[in-house]
């Protein structure tokens, strides 16, 4: 059991507010990912949960008990560091058993637990090696094994895969998700990589400049981003943004002016509250690359700058007439080539509209 509750948790480093009043509840056995650009406070937040950093303001509850002043080893949480932080002078087995040995657990029991964890992580042949003689992936496994041996109720990971090469990263991602299923414990995972967040999380917490932008499942964040920051951060390639002005708002649609003399008609959901979109308001139209397609006569046009053939799909990066870059996801057989002059159309019923402050006004979803 590990249910974590953060109430207005903040951290200030001599006058610099690294984490600002974070409210968040993490349910038992949930896999939660903190994601955000570098420097947004992910590590600081995780370290406050771990107990390695004092909480400046607010409260942390673990399973209903206030834990602000509980020392790190008494919180029942284990942490896996980005640098692995293995003890360089100890063998793999001793690294993994160190915490238990220090806690006075009998030797035979320590050995048994180490062996059990080693079996889960396929570390058995490496138990007598030192960290120096291991590859990056193996070191990462040992660091995870060291956490497992303590039988914690929650795991904290700080960018654990960022030092691994791409192929290994994908493999470890899958292994961690499997581990989460097998161990049935709470996991909090910090990363700056939105792909990792999307692929692993039950729920994602998007952080920016020390505060939470949005909390939700991967698909919620993808389809209903609360604001421009989340819309731009989640998804690769990025969502296309078109700053525009709502010139007319009708019953079923609105006319958006992308630039002088260039307007398009965009559907408005019937449920939208009147007044949410007033004529004359500056808005941002957000269209993901798959919300667009190459057509003979679309409302947008430009010249293809770069084409990426990814096999399953083709990405076209198009320089619009006004100089902005537009990314369009075309199918794998699309004959588009760099230098082509193309016209771009919108898939009906897709896209988002954001107000002048960046907050989402509505998201269209396919009927």
């Amino acid at each position: 059991m590990a249910r974590l509750e953060l109430r207005k948790v903040g951290k200030t480093f001599n006058n610099f507010e690294a984490v600002k009043s974070v409210d968040l509840t993490i349910e038992d056995r949930e896999f939660v990912v903190f994601v955000g650009p570098s420097g947004c406070g992910k590590t600081t937040l995780l370290r406050m949960i771990a107990g390695l950093e004092d909480i400046t303001s607010g409260d942390l509850y673990i399973d209903g008990e206030r834990a602000n002043a509980v020392p790190p080893d008494k919180r029942g949480l284990a942490m896996v560091f980005q640098s692995y932080a293995l003890y360089p002078h100890m063998t793999v087995a001793r690294n993994m058993g160190f915490a238990l040995k220090m806690a006075g657990v009998p030797k035979a029991e320590v050995e048994e637990k180490v062996r059990a964890a080693a079996r889960i992580l396929q570390l058995e042949p490496l138990l007598d090696r030192r960290p120096r003689m291991l590859s990056g992936g193996q070191r990462q496994r040992v660091a995870i094994g060291r956490a497992i041996v303590r039988n914690p109720k929650g795991f904290l990971f700080d960018e654990p895969l960022s030092n691994l090469d791409a192929a290994l990263r994908v493999q470890m991602r899958i292994e961690l998700v499997k581990l989460h299923q097998d161990l049935a414990v709470t996991m909090i995972y910090v990363t700056h990589d939105q792909v990792e967040a999307m692929t692993m999380a039950d729920r994602i917490v998007v952080l920016n400049q020390g505060h939470i932008e949005q909390v939700g499942t991967p698909l919620e964040l993808y389809h209903q981003p609360a604001n421009l920051f989340v819309a731009g951060f989640i998804g690769s390639p990025k969502m296309n943004f078109f700053p525009s002005r709502a010139v007319a708002v009708g019953r079923g649609d609105a006319t958006l002016e992308l630039s002088p003399n260039h307007a398009l008609s965009f559907p408005v959901p019937s449920g939208m509250s009147p007044g949410a979109l007033a004529p004359g308001a500056s808005v941002t139209l957000g269209l993901r690359p798959e919300h667009l397609f190459l057509a003979n006569d679309g409302p947008l046009s430009g010249q293809v700058d770069v084409v990426e053939h990814l096999g399953v799909e083709t990405l076209a990066y198009i320089k619009a007439v006004n100089g902005e870059m537009i990314t369009v996801r075309a199918d794998d057989l699309s004959p588009v080539a760099a230098g082509d002059r193309v016209s771009i159309a919108l898939h009906p019923g897709r896209g988002s509209l954001f107000d002048a402050g960046g907050k989402a006004i509505f998201h269209l979803s396919p009927a």
């Binding site: 560091f81 932080a85 360089p88 002078h89 915490a99 220090m102």
Partner: protein, 272 residues
């Protein structure tokens, strides 16, 4: 061609400089193997039949063994004391630094700039009043304090090379500061601790000012031995040289054996 000439000249200059610096020691060693008459002969003899009689005389007359024993005990004990104090101090400075830690480190080193003679009287009086004059205890304390700044500095820089994450991982594993020092820092910084200790032993062995001023026949070290030797015995160059060779030989041998370890300890980080 030009370059070769220049580098040849440089080599010659370097060798000359080294020879000039080394000459007194060389001359001392040569003199130690002469008789007293040969030692004062003018012009100095370069070719002679070496004898060991001066060594015999120096050993027989002056209780060399006793002084050597003091040197060994004082340098080892003062080093142990200094390391014992410096270890937790450096730990605190490296891993729990406060606002003034950097200032403190600089200040500690700056105490080395104070001329020792400036505090001779107060220290002499303290030891007189505590009945510690001419005891090995007094020298152990003084030598430990003299070497403390250097030992703290060295340990501090070794500790700083140890990734913080490792200690934080230990913290998460439920290992407190004491356990971290014993199970992590001690083994990880062992090469650094060894070089700091070797340096402290050498410095303490060579320390002359305080041993001459605070001790006499009872607790004197080899530095005192040489200083005392020259005075009452008159100027017997050969015997004095033999005594000096006997005084510096142990530490020279020790130093050359420890040199490789020290250089390694001083140049590479503890963990990498």
């Amino acid at each position: 061609m030009e370059q070769e000439k220049a580098s040849l000249a440089g080599t010659i200059v370097a060798w000359l400089a080294a020879f000039v610096m080394f000459f007194p020691i060389l001359w001392m060693v040569i003199t130690a193997f002469k008789t007293e008459e040969q030692a004062i002969a003018i012009p100095p003899l370069l070719i002679f039949h070496p004898v060991l009689s001066s060594f015999g005389a120096a050993l027989a007359q002056s209780g060399y063994i006793h002084f050597a024993e003091n040197s060994v005990i004082v340098s080892l004990c003062s080093t142990a004391l200094a390391v014992l104090i410096a270890f937790p101090a450096a730990y605190a400075m490296a891993f729990q630094p406060g606002k003034r830690t950097q200032d403190l480190l600089v200040w500690m080193l700056s105490t080395k700039m104070l001329p020792p003679v400036g505090v001779l009287v107060p220290i002499y009086l303290i030891f007189r009043d505590t009945d510690l004059l001419d005891t090995r205890t007094s020298l152990v304390i003084v030598d430990a304090l003299i070497n403390l700044p250097i030992v703290v500095w060295m340990l501090f820089s070794f500790f700083r090379d140890i990734p913080r994450d490792i200690l934080e991982a230990a913290h998460m594993d439920g290992v407190g500061p004491r356990g971290q020092m014993i199970h992590l820092l001690l083994p990880l910084a062992a090469p650094g601790i060894a070089s700091a200790a070797l340096l402290a032993i050498i410095l303490s062995w060579n320390e002359a000012f305080w041993s001459i001023n605070l001790t006499a026949a009872h607790a004197g070290t080899l530095a005192t031995f040489i200083a005392r030797y020259s005075a009452p015995e008159g100027l017997f160059w050969a015997k004095l040289s033999a005594a000096s060779v006997l005084a510096v030989a142990p530490i020279l041998i020790f130093g050359s054996l420890a040199q490789r370890r020290m250089v390694r300890g001083l140049t590479v980080g503890a963990v990498k």
